[in-house]
């Protein structure tokens, strides 16, 4: 039986002349597990929205052709009816989960279907069991970690008992531990349902899928069996998709193997093991920080010290709830007023621990994960100029131009920052953060939700800033990004610093703290 049948699909968003997706023919059989990948803005989400019925029922535009899900014409069938055939889990569980209680969130769909209470209870129990959230059923959803919340979101969709389940970048906002749990669920579900996973992280999804569809520039660029991936590495890289590093080396040296350890052995034989990324040598300490934060009930949330060296990139890693964000907040003076804290921040020999946020801001800049919240001006130029003007820095026009050039923003100088693409908005936020001449830049989860292409741009920007003398502290879950760009890594666990050193050293032990070493490191150092 066919789960999805698409013929001559063409969809353009309102106001766009060019179609965002064009698919001549696409069929997905019942029981298949398919990865849909591609660069951000390439048309992946538009394609899955056409399958779920979000297009045309919620998002309107010019739609041609036909999309059928288990024989139902999507355009002609109500979303309510489709919801029992196809379910979708979105990228950000925070916006998807709308109820306060875990159990009531899972029951939301069945209650909408007006099912009998006994049937609702049965479906809720089944979905919670599948996703492993039965033990947290009485918790409030806002107290959950990102990984837990994503599992609740999945359970909320599973309780509709859809035959086809679509997961749109289900792990982009969660830590490795949460990611592993989500993939465990996928492993379990692939036996029961047709699965479509939209994901940038090809390497992580590969073991679960039997087919890969690459969408690029609104068209299906590649449609292959997952076992054939190794033969299409060049094409994948050509369109900016992150592929497993061992596949790249296997292809490069003609090794007809898929397993990382086997490829590594071959590479050792032919002395072609990749070299480690270059790192900045040890330098003087620019900022010494020590943060101790206690909750009103006396629980110690963080007790750790970190030193940041001059012109260095330091990555702070650890599972959700390890205290990374609280540590950053402590350094910046962002802590909630009911928390007790002992903070010491000495920057270039000057103790700034007692200074107000606006004074700390002369030395330290911060870009939060939700960087859109920092964009308060009407144009990119005024956004970048904001802190320069407020701090009354001379020759501000020249400086604004320099910074906009540094972040390739000159072409957008008169555009509204909030109207730009995700990558451009992040660049505006970074540019405006450093504009007033700070020495330290701190970024919270800058890689979250970014595709390979945009992460590479970010990494290069950070390296450039480092070369210009900035010291950078980033909080991230992305091991591959850290391995490639960070000079040092600190790992937190339960509010304490448990590992510190260069990535090559830290990744040897980081697995036990839920920081999974990247394949680049494993290919070089081995699985043991």
């Amino acid at each position: 039986m066919k789960a999805v049948e698409i013929h001559n699909l063409k969809f353009s968003y309102l106001g766009n002349e060019e179609p965002s997706i064009e698919v001549e023919n696409l069929t997905i059989e019942d029981g298949e597990t398919v990865l849909i990948t591609g660069r951000s803005g390439g048309g992946k989400s538009t394609l899955v929205n056409c399958i779920t019925g979000i297009i045309p029922h919620i998002t309107h535009g010019e739609l041609e052709g036909s999309v059928k899900v288990y024989g139902n014409d999507v355009a002609e069938t109500s979303l309510a009816k489709l919801s029992s055939e196809v379910g979708i889990v979105l990228q950000n569980p925070e916006t998807q989960v709308m109820n306060y209680g875990v159990e009531e969130e899972v029951a939301f769909g069945p209650e909408n279907l007006c099912l009998a209470p006994e049937e609702i209870v049965s479906r809720v129990d089944e979905s919670m069991k599948t996703t492993g959230i039965s033990e947290i059923k009485d918790r409030e959803t806002y107290t959950l970690s990102g990984g837990e919340m994503q599992r609740v979101a999945i359970a909320g969709v599973l309780s509709m008992r859809p035959k086809l389940l679509i997961l749109d970048e289900p792990t982009s906002n969660i830590d490795p531990e949460g990611t592993a749990r989500v993939f465990d669920i996928l492993e379990q579900l692939k036996e029961e349902k047709t699965l479509i996973v939209v994901e940038h992280k090809v390497e992580r999804v590969l073991p679960f899928v039997n087919r890969i569809i690459v969408v690029n520039d609104g068209k299906i660029f590649l449609d292959i069996s997952s076992h054939d991936l190794i033969h299409h590495i060049d094409e994948m890289q050509e369109v900016g998709i992150e592929v497993p590093i061992h596949f790249i080396y296997a292809r490069k040296y003609g090794i007809d193997l898929e397993d990382l350890e086997s490829i590594r052995e071959k590479l050792l034989e032919i002395k072609a093991i990749p070299t480690a990324p270059s790192r900045s040598p040890e330098s003087n300490t620019l900022m010494k920080t020590s943060v101790r934060v206690t909750a009103p009930n006396g629980t110690e949330l963080v007790k750790a010290s970190i030193d940041l060296q001059e012109s260095h990139i330091l990555a702070l890693m650890g599972r959700n709830g390890a205290g990374k964000s609280t540590f950053l907040k402590g350094i910046m003076g962002f802590l909630e007023i009911d928390l007790k804290s002992e903070i010491n921040v000495v920057l270039a020999g000057k103790d700034i621990s007692k200074e107000h946020i606006m004074d700390r801001g002369r030395e330290i800049a911060f870009v939060p994960q939700n960087f859109d919240l920092t964009l308060i001006n009407k144009s990119v130029e005024t956004e970048v100029a904001y802190s320069i003007k407020k701090r009354k820095i001379s020759e501000y026009k020249k400086r604004v131009d320099e910074i906009m050039e540094l972040f390739s923003l000159l072409d957008y100088r008169y555009r509204d920052p909030l109207g730009l693409s995700l990558g451009q908005r992040r660049r505006v936020a970074m540019a405006s953060a450093i504009a007033s001449g700070v020495k330290v830049l701190m970024l919270d989860e800058p890689t979250s939700g970014q595709d390979y292409f945009h992460k590479e741009i970010l990494g290069k920007e950070l390296k450039r800033l480092k070369d210009l003398g900035y010291s950078i502290l980033i909080v991230t879950h992305d091991s591959r990004f850290v391995y490639k760009y960070a000079d040092r890594v600190v790992v937190f666990d339960h509010g304490e610093k448990v590992l510190e050193g260069v990535p090559e050293k830290v990744f040897r032990e980081s697995g036990k703290f839920s920081v999974i070493p990247p394949s680049d490191f494993l290919l070089r150092e081995g699985l043991k």
Binding site: T52, G53, I54, S78, L79, A80, L82, S83, S84, V86, G87, I88, L90, T95, Q96, M98, N99, Y100, G101, E103, A107, F108, E111, N112, L113, C114, A116, P117, I120, E140, Y142, V157, M160, P296, E336, I337, D338, H356, I357, M358, D359, G361, R362, I364, A365, F366, N370, D372, L373, T374, L375, I376, Y386, S387, K390, R391, K392, L418, A435, S436
Partner: protein, 318 residues
């Protein structure tokens, strides 16, 4: 008195009504305090066990009583409701937050009425011909609608009016703190309010704590970027207010981007498939609800008696 001193004191008094509540919000309650009293936390005391429909009714009863009776009945209700905050989860902190919120309401309302209320109304309200002047405003303050002098009767009048709002705001927060949005949705649907309207309310209840969090982040980052860095410390609360105003657009845009996901999440889970919904745990009327109904009936009877006895809304209050 020296012209300059009069002007300085007058402007300080002018800003007091706006700045003091803001100062309390920022220094004592904090945005996290607001989050604490605008979101649900599960617990087991009577408010949490009460049927949400009964809690909505309780809110209506408090509103009616505060609106139709003499000010001190509103004050008594305020005190009683505030004391019941001790029964909430983390009750002491919620009581303190509720207390300061009440102070803000009183100061804000008093300051909103005292300088503006015409003397003729105050004379009628207090049955006096001569009012007790406390402070004479500079003459140009009349352009802003101010009376020539701030009077004791004006302040009392403003305070009495604030008692119309305090009990109502406290009991509304009880509903928010002790009911999940979906419980409210069920209760409102039962009384026939369309599902799409109640759903908007539910999403709003879920969103309000986040709004405080996002505005807090945005304002702090504006300070880091130099907002108010060249101004004296005393003006920081005003810059905080300015920062919060600037934060409104990015916060709304951010929320609207998320709201589309919320709509998709609801609609792809059969929301509005039928005019009504069923419930996993049907709502029942328990002993707590029966007790609450009895208390409400008693309060309404007392109100009717009080109004008949002349303790109604009419001016004068005394």
């Amino acid at each position: 008195m020296n012209w300059l001193i009069v002007n300085v004191i007058s402007w300080l008094l002018f800003f007091f009504g706006a700045a003091f509540p803001i100062l309390i919000v920022l220094r004592v309650i904090g945005l996290t305090g607001f989050m604490r009293i605008t979101r649900f936390e599960s617990f087991h005391t009577f408010y949490y066990r009460m049927n949400p429909s009964i809690k909505i009714m309780l809110g209506l009863v408090v509103t009616i009583v505060a609106a139709v009776t003499i000010w001190w009945i509103g004050a008594i209700m305020t005190a009683v409701i505030l004391l019941t905050y001790f029964t909430l989860k983390d009750g002491k902190r919620k009581f303190i937050t509720g207390f300061f919120l009440t102070m803000i309401t009183i100061i804000g309302t008093t300051w909103a009425f005292a300088p503006y209320t015409p003397y003729t109304i105050l004379q009628q309200a207090f049955h006096v011909t001569a009012l007790t002047g406390i402070w004479a405003w500079p003459s140009y303050f009349t352009v802003m609608g101010y009376q020539p002098e701030l009077t004791m009767q004006g302040l009392i009048y403003g305070f009495q009016i604030s008692m119309r709002f305090t009990a109502v705001s406290l009991i509304s927060l009880v509903l928010v703190m002790t009911s999940t949005p979906s419980q409210v949705l069920r209760a409102l649907n039962k009384v026939g309010i369309p599902i799409s309207i109640t759903f908007s309310l539910v999403v709003a209840m879920r969103t309000i704590p986040r709004i405080f969090e996002y505005i807090d982040t945005s304002v702090k980052i504006q300070f880091m970027r130099g907002l108010g860095s060249t101004a004296p410390k005393i003006f920081r609360p005003f810059y905080m207010l300015k920062g919060a105003i600037y934060a409104i657009v990015p916060v709304i845009v951010f929320l609207v981007r998320g709201a589309k996901d919320t709509a998709i999440s609801a609609d792809t889970r059969a929301f509005r498939a039928y005019p009504k919904r069923t419930n996993m745990y049907p709502i029942t009327i328990g002993s707590v609800d029966k007790s609450a109904l009895a208390v409400m009936t008693l309060v309404m009877l007392i109100t009717i008696v009080a109004v008949i006895m002349g303790l109604g809304r009419a001016i004068p209050y005394s």
